[in-house]
């Protein structure tokens, strides 16, 4: 039985990081009795351990709540949780596109912050009705009046009716639910048009295949129909439709316009149900897909190797499984002289890379070594051909290169005006080209730069945060390829080229970077039995060098009354330690040394 459309509210929750998004979501589940109290674990919607730990939402999640409002009517509230990082901006935008409104949480002591603003603008772009909520009023430092005034002034939202709550203690949560019902419009929905449903997420399930999360915009979708993905053209027979509940899914006979739900159709990989694609029904096809689809392509590449070569097969299996659920992840086998057999993996950005790496290590218990990330470069050769490389190992002999191109981005940084200087310094250091600056309010700016992608994949976001005390937010889009004076840096340890440490960089930065790499390696490679020269070179020319001095003393002198076992244990311990090292020719390099080079940032 379809409910009346005017009783449906589709909304998401947006907030600056740590302002209490997941906690409020949990409280809404609890208040609507969507989940029994005993089933509550902290932050139910963040399903992955990693999400709970890092306090960021990586995947979008959705849940259908039933709410009996003060007016005596029962409403259907569809809450769509959104990812919280610039790497996943596209996914956020698709989640927002599935809603009519957004609950904006602002911390009662911190007030408006960078992501408050950025997320609000993103929501406004999608014409969402915004319901402000002042959270954390239980804190001693809470100043709800001041913060409410700030929201009114900076964002221009009326906060006179804004609920003042504590998601932690549960105070005034009903007001949030009432505000959603009163202020967020019901969907405009026509069941009689040819069906169109927006995919805002898809999740692989080993029993049902891919579970496709959709917002039906028009028409009806039911089991037995043949669905078509309008962008990829893939077709499947629908097996089941239903609603997402907090703990178990609830199958239904059909999904109709305005509703949020899921579809299963024995789909094998999430690549066939891409976020942003439009589902229609072959028997009554829509003419045009919903706007806004784009195929998400990996932008950042790096080599991922098992620390123990014997784990290669396990790594492949793990990547295969992760890819089932992550259409943006790509991988193909590659071989490194230094690291052995591994995979070249493609990611949306550095956070995506870190998340995949952590999941491989934690959920699949793999020890990994990852190489320095790279973007895709276009190399034009003297013979007129062009090659694309995402792996410095494939960089051709400089004598054959006519010129190179690297990807540029259009980047917007939102920040309080006082940090403009710091931000511009950072962007200049990163070879940015200033475009313009807009004052959003008298003390908030939108700074527009063109930045090379390879300058932002390392630690740009972290540097930005630290230079603006966390107040700036950042968004970027790949714009075009531009001609650039690039060189390849090679690292040699004890005279042996370490292919896994090679990378491509702009010529102007090669020298200072080389020095930093050499220093970092020196600091992170433990002294060994003999001296180890570290060299960083362009072509055959060494431009930086350091030396790891030989270890001076490593001896266990005394024999404790014939206690040989104690010696043996020490030896075993030392051997264990060696196993965690990578052997490059004659040199042992701990994984941390790779990481240290990988994480080289402005502060080093």
């Amino acid at each position: 039985m379809a409910v009346s459309k005017d009783k449906i509210r589709n909304f998401c929750i947006i907030a600056h990081i740590d302002h209490g998004k997941s906690t409020l979501a949990d409280r809404l589940l609890e208040k609507t009795k969507s989940v029994a109290l005993r089933e509550m674990t902290a932050q139910l919607l963040d399903k992955m351990d990693l999400e709970r730990e890092r306090g960021i939402t990586i995947k979008a999640h959705a849940v259908k709540l039933n709410y009996l409002a003060e007016d005596g009517e029962e409403y259907i509230l569809n809450l769509i949780d959104t990812p919280g990082h610039v790497d996943f901006n596209y996914e956020v935008s698709r989640s927002l596109a599935a809603c009519e409104g957004a609950v904006l949480i602002v911390d009662a002591s911190q007030g408006v912050e960078a992501q408050t603003l950025a997320n609000t603008y993103l929501a406004l772009d999608h014409n969402l009705e915004i319901v402000p909520v002042i959270n954390k009023i239980d804190l001693p430092s809470a100043e709800p009046d001041r913060v409410a005034a700030e929201v009114e002034e900076v964002i221009g939202l009326d906060c006179s009716e804004a609920p003042r709550v504590s998601a932690k203690t549960g105070i005034n949560i009903e007001q949030v639910l009432e505000s959603i019902v009163k202020n967020i419009p019901s969907p405009e929905a026509n069941d009689n048009l040819p069906p169109r449903a927006l995919i805002f997420d898809s999740v692989y399930d080993s029993y049902k295949g891919v579970i496709v999360y959709v917002r039906v915009k028009e028409g009806k979708i039911k089991p037995g129909d043949t669905m078509r993905m309008m962008a990829t053209g893939a077709e499947f027979t629908i097996v089941e439709t239903g609603y997402m509940r907090a703990t178990v899914p609830e199958p239904c006979s059909e999904l109709t316009a305005g509703e949020v739900g899921y579809i299963t159709a024995s789909i094998k990989t999430v690549g066939d149900a891409r976020v942003g694609d439009t589902v229609t029904i072959v028997e009554n096809p829509a003419k045009e897909p919903l706007p806004g689809y784009r195929k998400v392509n990996p932008m950042v590449f790096c080599g991922v190797y098992p620390a123990d070569g014997a784990d290669y097969e396990n790594l492949r299996d793990a990547l295969e499984k992760l890819q089932l659920n992550d259409a943006a992840l790509t991988y193909e086998p590659e071989t490194s002289g230094a690291l052995g057999f591994g995979f070249r993996c493609g990611f949306l950005g550095l956070l995506h890379l870190e998340i995949i790496q952590e999941r491989l290590e934690r959920e699949y218990d793999l020890d990994l070594v990852t190489t320095i990330p790279s973007v895709i470069y276009k190399i034009y050769l003297n013979d007129g051909t062009m090659i694309e490389i995402d792996n410095p190992t494939h960089y051709p002999d400089p004598a054959h290169i006519n010129y190179c191109e690297e990807p540029f981005t259009d980047a917007h940084i939102y920040s309080p005006a006082e940090y403009v200087g710091a931000i511009m310094d950072l962007c200049q250091e990163r070879r940015g080209i200033f475009k313009n600056m807009d004052y959003i309010t008298p003390d908030r700016v939108d700074i527009h730069y063109e930045l090379p992608l390879n300058e932002i994949i390392y630690d740009f976001f972290d540097s930005l945060k630290s230079r603006t005390r966390g107040y700036a937010s950042f968004d970027y889009e790949i714009s075009d390829y531009r001609r650039s004076n690039l060189v390849k840096l090679d690292v040699l340890l004890n005279g042996d080229l370490i292919d896994a440490l090679s990378f491509i960089i702009h010529n102007d930065k090669a020298r200072s970077k080389s020095r930093k790499i050499a220093e970092k390696l020196k600091d992170n490679i433990p002294r060994q039995m003999f001296e180890i020269p570290i060299q960083v070179a362009i072509g055959g020319k060494v431009i930086a060098r350091e030396t790891v001095k030989a270890m001076r003393k490593d001896v266990l002198a005394k024999c404790y009354g014939g206690d040989i076992t104690r010696k043996k244990k020490l030896l075993e311990k030392q051997k264990e330690g060696k196993k965690r090292m990578r052997h490059f020719g004659t040199v042992e390099v701990p994984q941390e040394a790779f990481m240290a080079v990988l994480k080289l940032d402005d502060n080093d």
Partner: protein, 370 residues
């Protein structure tokens, strides 16, 4: 008795009593109490009788073995069956045995068989000795040596410590010179290691210790100066006049068997390693020793052999294990030879002095194949 038991082995006797605790020491020791000492000695004798074996080396270690007195040592030795040329070593505290008023009876211990003593000199520089918490001065050491000699004990070993607070190359040479002049036959030169649970460990931030580089220099300097004085290095920390190597300690490094009796004593006998709990009460109560697994496998044999200048002997390895030393080890050794850490010839692999200084890494690297 069985055949095995008729083979003489080594005997280590742990005497866990000390008048004071040196700040660097983590050996098991407690203050002596009259009744406890007697019960402990009785328990030692009983255990020795039970074992009923023949020994070709005996070593009284501690603690301070000299502290229980010549009568007790004589009593214990009356229970020990020895071979004719048995080496019997007694660790002695210089101030207890060489102090002006000390009455330690060297004649009695010599008569009961002791033919070697080991004295904890540590340093011939009195300020350094003080910093190590040693009571008494160098004159105590000199007197102890003279008294032992007078009693007929001429095989005398001195302990030196390297890398101790405020030690310099010059002060170290003074200590080596003391060893040379004293007429000692053997010197053990240990690098100070700050062990957890010691007073030094607690105070480690306030100690002016030579750093690793300096300590390395001190070690090489000590080895050079000792050899110049006629003490030839035969183990990482041990130097001896020709023919005066410690036969007991060589058993440890050559993977030969020895029985350890007493609290905290370790054994390697009948292919097994085991040890007694660090508890006098447990030992007196005849609590059985704790199993420490099998001993004497290839890896262990190599690890120990490489501590000796005689090194890993290919023929000996083959006769023990019925196969030749794995190629991987020889290959690795050749690589390390290029860095001056080991020597390899047709008979053996052995560590150089530089190699000894890095022996943990070198041995670990050679044993990587296991």
């Amino acid at each position: 008795m069985t055949m095995i038991n008729s083979n003489p082995i080594g005997l280590y006797l742990h005497i866990p009593f000390c008048n004071g605790k040196c700040p660097y020491c983590d050996f098991y020791s407690v203050a002596p109490q009259k009744g406890v000492t007697d019960s402990y000695v009785a328990a030692l004798c009983k255990k020795i009788d039970e074992e009923n074996r023949i020994y070709d080396t005996v070593y009284f270690g501690g603690g301070t073995p000299s502290l229980i007195g010549a009568d007790n040592i004589s009593l214990i030795l009356s229970h020990v069956q020895t071979t004719e040329n048995c080496e019997i070593t007694l660790e002695c505290n210089p101030s207890d045995t060489g102090g002006i008023n000390s009455v330690f009876d060297f004649v009695k211990v010599a008569e009961s068989g002791v033919n070697r003593i080991s004295l904890g000199l540590q340093s011939a520089v009195d300020t350094e000795r003080k910093a190590l918490g040693r009571r008494g001065g160098c004159d105590d050491v000199e007197r102890a040596i003279a008294r032992a000699r007078a009693a007929g004990i001429t095989n005398i070993s001195l302990d030196l410590m390297l890398g101790i607070p405020n030690q310099t190359k010059e002060s170290l040479l003074e200590s080596v010179e003391f060893c040379r002049k004293s007429g000692a036959t053997h010197v053990s030169a240990y690098i100070l290691k700050i062990e957890e649970g010691t007073f030094f460990h607690k105070k480690r931030d306030t100690l002016t210790l030579p750093d690793d580089d300096e300590t390395g220099e001190l070690y090489l300097e000590a080895a050079r100066a000792l050899e110049e004085s006629g003490f030839i290095q035969y183990e990482i920390s041990n130097f001896a006049k020709e023919g005066y190597e410690s036969r007991h300690n060589l058993k440890y490094w050559r993977c030969e068997e020895y029985l350890g009796i007493g609290a905290a004593a370790h054994s390697f006998a009948n292919g097994k390693r085991f040890y007694y709990e660090r508890s006098i009460a447990d030992f007196i109560a005849e609590t059985p020793p704790i199993d420490d697994g099998a001993g004497g496998d290839e890896e262990e044999f190599i690890m120990l052999a490489l501590r000796l200048t005689e090194g890993l002997n290919f023929a000996r390895f083959e006769s023990l294990f019925g196969k030749s030393v794995p190629d991987g080890i020889v290959e690795k050794a050749k690589f390390l030879r290029d860095h001056g850490l080991v020597t390899v010839d047709s008979e053996k692999i052995s560590l150089t002095k530089q190699g000894f200084l890095l022996s943990n890494s070198v041995i670990c690297s050679l044993l990587e194949i296991y």
